[in-house]
């Protein structure tokens, strides 16, 4: 890819630009030519300076590097949109309202509708996948936020330094556990335990009324929405906890003492000083976690049951997320000679990208809103 080429080029150029020239002397025997920037007046090559040795190279490299994230994002978006065009035209807006996932008859002759080639009977709907993605991430956030922040609070405020160091170390290890390992553990151990021994405590006692009905029902074999949410929570707790811990350590002691000296309880002091001080940072960390949860693929694919094309009936039912669907359907999609199935997966990827972007923008707005009141790091200060 072009982008990859650009990256490796700048990478190899950077070292040549800086130190190696000072030793080699750039072809000049003159000891005054030590300055690699070529700014020395005695430099013999001042006029015929090679472009990669010039002072201007640095800013130019920087400019390219600065714009790389934007370029990459635009390229990915463009590629996805390009690949998804047939699916967007064929699936229409109904894609977001249907709960169905049907490749169609892959053995029948290919038909054309609105100029898009497709197998007869092909019908796709992403509603349960979108809801599953948002739902599992929401469960994860609801669980991970209090646990992560609570862990950080205990580590910073209550534990003796040695123990707090140890737990901090464990948090970082936990953040680095490959998701496939967590997924397998969730599939083998956590899921069955959760569904057989924990969820059963309430699943049959919840009243059968609208809304609450969602928390009622057979808890199944261990794969489903709840298990996925818990697994995702486990993955983002370390992110939230580690960030919050670092933030808490930066809360000025004197300000907390000020609250205590007013006769506030520890909880009141935390509410008055500590929490406002770290709030926008915690929101940022949560959004980092949410981003991970929304996009987490393999672990969810292992514990969700990958039920594509069927509505989510309860907290315990098998479901699928966008990411898990893409990875589990990709192989089969290639058997669709019309290319519609792959195009639909591209459309799904696009939807996921948009959801993630929206979450990020929302986080920005939220951070800005809570930071305006009083934080020294807030807007305009």
């Amino acid at each position: 890819m072009t982008v990859g080429a650009t990256v490796s080029k700048t990478d190899t150029d950077l070292p040549t630009a800086a130190p190696s020239q000072s030793g080699g002397g750039g072809g000049g025997p003159d000891p005054g030519a030590h300055d690699p920037s070529g700014g020395g007046p005695a430099g013999p090559g001042a006029g015929q300076e090679k472009w990669w040795r010039g002072e201007r190279l640095g800013p130019q490299v920087l400019r390219v590097v600065t714009h790389l994230p934007l370029i990459v994002l635009v390229l990915i978006m463009a590629a996805l949109i390009w690949k998804a065009i047939p699916a967007i035209r064929y699936n229409g807006f109904g894609f977001f309202g249907r709960s169905v996932w049907n490749f169609g008859n892959l053995y029948a002759p290919i038909l054309h509708t609105h100029g898009v080639a497709h197998p007869p009977g092909a019908l796709y709907g992403a509603l349960p996948l979108i809801l599953g993605t948002i739902g599992s991430s929401a469960i994860a956030m609801v669980l991970a936020l209090p646990v992560g922040v609570g862990t950080a609070l205990v580590v910073v405020e209550k534990l003796p330094p040695r123990l707090s160091y140890g737990i901090g170390f464990c948090l970082e290890i936990l953040a680095g556990v490959p998701s496939v390992v967590i997924g397998l553990w969730g599939f083998l151990t956590l899921g069955p335990f959760l569904m057989h021994h924990v969820a059963t405590l309430w699943a049959n006692h919840v009243p059968d009324v609208p809304v609450l009905r969602f928390f009622r029902g057979p808890t199944g074999n261990g794969q489903g929405l709840l298990t996925s949410g818990v697994i995702l929570a486990m993955m983002i707790v370390p992110i939230i906890a580690a960030t919050t811990r670092d933030l808490l350590r930066q809360v000025p002691r004197g300000t907390v003492e000020g609250a205590v000296a007013l006769g506030m309880t520890d909880a009141e002091a935390a509410n008055t000083v500590t929490i406002p001080w770290v709030r926008s940072g915690v929101i940022g960390a949560s959004m980092l976690g949410l981003g991970r949860a929304l996009g987490e693929t393999i672990a969810v694919a292992m514990v969700s049951g990958v039920l594509v094309g069927s509505p989510i009936r309860s907290l315990y039912s098998a479901f699928s997320t966008i990411a898990a669907t893409i990875v589990s359907q990709l192989d089969g999609a290639f058997t669709d000679a019309s290319g519609l199935a792959v195009a639909t997966l591209a459309e799904l990827a696009l939807v996921l990208l948009v959801i993630t972007l929206l979450a990020n923008v929302g986080a920005r707005l939220l951070v800005r809103r809570v930071a305006t009141t009083a934080l020294p790091v807030g807007r305009g200060i």
């Binding site: 300000t255 000296a261 008055t272 009083a374």
Partner: protein, 269 residues
């Protein structure tokens, strides 16, 4: 003041309550772990007076001050012997409510430490925590105390703003207003003006003079001139010992102990 009229504190001789020191430090030794910071300090804190604690850095002034409202309690290894009394009751007594002790014995710190909330909320933070005023009264309370510390004119039109946009001196005045808003009997000040400009320092000193005799003030200061200017009583601490305490004029003009003479003369510290 409330404790004067309250029958609860009327001891065997109710008429003498006003003459009794509001706080008293009696043979107090304080330390952290194996280290002893204060040695056998005895110091009555007269009601309605300003007491200055002076002495070189590390002599234990701040530790003594922070022992008065038990701010040292959470520091690892802190221990205390002897009695520190507020209205005749030991501050560490099991029947003493720590939170109301700290409300009655307020504290202002060396560096301004406003809370991360609006200016108005800063002033009433303590009032809120102690439920001393209803929600609708809070703005009035904030106004009253901002006026008391001469900050109202500067912040009247931006009560909802961040206090961190104020200058350091204004922030310190805000912290003073916050401490006064909970109506303390005793106010402890730990070098409150060491980071302030001369003008704000003067505002603070005037304020302190106006606060007595309603509020009893204990001020730690490195600024000898300030101690001389504002205090009625001065206590000189050196190496964890109370070398000399007495009327400010006497300490500065006729110090008895050679260490005091040296310190005030600028030869030690």
């Amino acid at each position: 003041m409330s404790e004067v009229t309250s029958p609860a504190v009327a001891g065997p001789a109710a008429g003498t309550v006003l003459d009794r020191p509001v706080m008293s430090v009696d043979d107090v030794s304080v330390g952290f772990g194996p280290k002893t910071v204060l040695n056998g300090i005895g110091l009555p804190i007269e009601r309605g007076s300003i007491t200055a604690l002076i002495g070189p850095t590390g002599c234990g002034k701040s530790t003594l001050l922070r022992s008065l409202n038990r701010m040292n309690d959470k520091i690892r290894g802190y221990w205390r012997r002897g009695r520190i009394e507020l209205e005749g009751q030991d501050v560490a007594d099991s029947s003493t409510d720590l939170l109301s002790l700290r409300r009655r014995v307020g504290m202002v710190f060396q560096r301004p430490n406003p809370f991360p909330m609006s200016i108005r909320d800063n002033v009433v933070a303590g009032v809120r925590a102690h439920g001393m005023a209803s929600r609708s009264e809070l703005t009035d309370v904030a106004e009253r105390y901002l006026k008391e510390v001469s900050l109202w004119g500067a912040v009247a039109d931006r009560l909802g703003d961040s206090p961190f946009r104020l200058s350091g001196g204004q922030q310190q005045l805000l912290c003073l207003a916050r401490s006064l808003a909970v109506e303390p009997d005793v106010l402890l000040l730990d070098e409150p003006t060491s980071s302030l400009d001369p003008v704000t320092t003067e505002i603070v000193e005037d304020l302190l003079r106006n606060l007595v005799p309603d509020v009893t003030i204990v001020i730690v200061t490195h600024n000898l001139a300030q101690a001389k200017r504002v205090s009625n009583t001065t206590a000189f601490l050196y190496n964890g010992h109370l070398v000399e305490a007495g009327e400010t004029s006497q300490i500065f003009d006729n110090p008895e102990q050679p260490e005091t003479v040296s310190y005030i003369g600028g030869r030690i510290g």
